[in-house]
Symmetry: C2
């Protein structure tokens, strides 16, 4: 899905294709760092193809916070909003095609554009809910329930993400994930 | 602070006073329930006077998630966005004056009003950051640091909120809070 289609489908069905900010397309290889630890984020990415992964450093170990799949926006949003250094790193885990919006330009368009504000509001609402849901999962779901939900939501995940990274995301050891997979198969 | 002033100061300095949705004022006594557990939220509140407290049921015990002070918006936002029953209860912990926006009306105004979308976007950004900050505090701050930060941010808190509720918010026993207070005094 392209950004233009996304806006039409998810933000404004009357959208005719004229955006109040510029967008530029980029192909990036696997392992590309969109935003690094300690970098002040300046861009919003729309993922047209591929998978991106959000990582955090916790006690000198990389933990995986989130995955993004095609047809979604991602950014180090806290860093964008606060202008503080990012405490997450966002990387491509396969070749990706992204469409890039410069946040300074987006913010300028917030001053006058209904569409830009609808877009910003709706995407922020989604990020907010994502955060709430993730918190709730951590508090209430065990690793097996969490894994099953992940599979249901992203059936393609096993084809693209190594099991050791899925276990990092679930916050368990690769051995525990193996046991879960045996149990449910 | 009144909602009208708030919009002028925080959303749009050119705001002339004509809102795209209606607002009605209400005085409520201490203990008033704005949104109850399992209720589907339908309103956004601007707190003009007083303090509101967000509570959650955790293992049959009430825990305090958040406090709201004058000059801020509050709602069971997840319930508003998802139309699912609220897992939090929001109550006044002293007499309050609120200005109420009906969410259905706000959503209608999102279809055409730049101001409504700027308002919705900016307030959602704030709620998002509040959530992120709270998560980080839970992960990285001990109770004493968290207490000191609370005092710094809301110096008036001790005058209005019983110590047992502050300890519930910090997730510690009243005795631990007493020890912290002795240590830092």
């Amino acid at each position: 899905m392209k950004l233009i289609q996304y806006i039409h489908t998810h933000i404004d069905p009357k959208f005719t294709g004229e955006l109040p900010f510029s967008v530029h397309k980029k192909q990036v290889p696997k392992g590309y760092v969109f935003t690094d630890f300690e970098e002040i984020a300046s861009k919003v990415y729309f993922l047209a193809e591929g998978i991106a992964q959000v990582e955090i450093l916790s006690k000198d170990e990389i933990r995986i916070l989130d995955f993004f799949f095609p047809g979604s926006f991602f950014a180090s949003y806290t860093s964008l909003l606060t202008k503080l250094p990012s405490d997450v790193r966002i990387r491509s885990i396969m070749d990706c095609e992204v469409e890039i919006i410069d946040y300074t330009e987006l913010k300028k368009s917030y001053e006058f554009s209904l569409l830009a504000n609808q877009f910003g509001r709706i995407e922020t609402e989604k990020l907010y809910l994502r955060r709430v849901q993730r918190e709730k999962q951590l508090l209430t779901q065990n690793a097996q329930e969490h894994y099953l939900e992940l599979l249901k939501k992203y059936p393609q995940i096993l084809r693209h993400i190594p099991l050791k990274d899925i276990s990092k995301y679930l916050g368990i050891t690769p051995e525990s994930l193996s046991r879960i997979r045996k149990r449910i198969s």
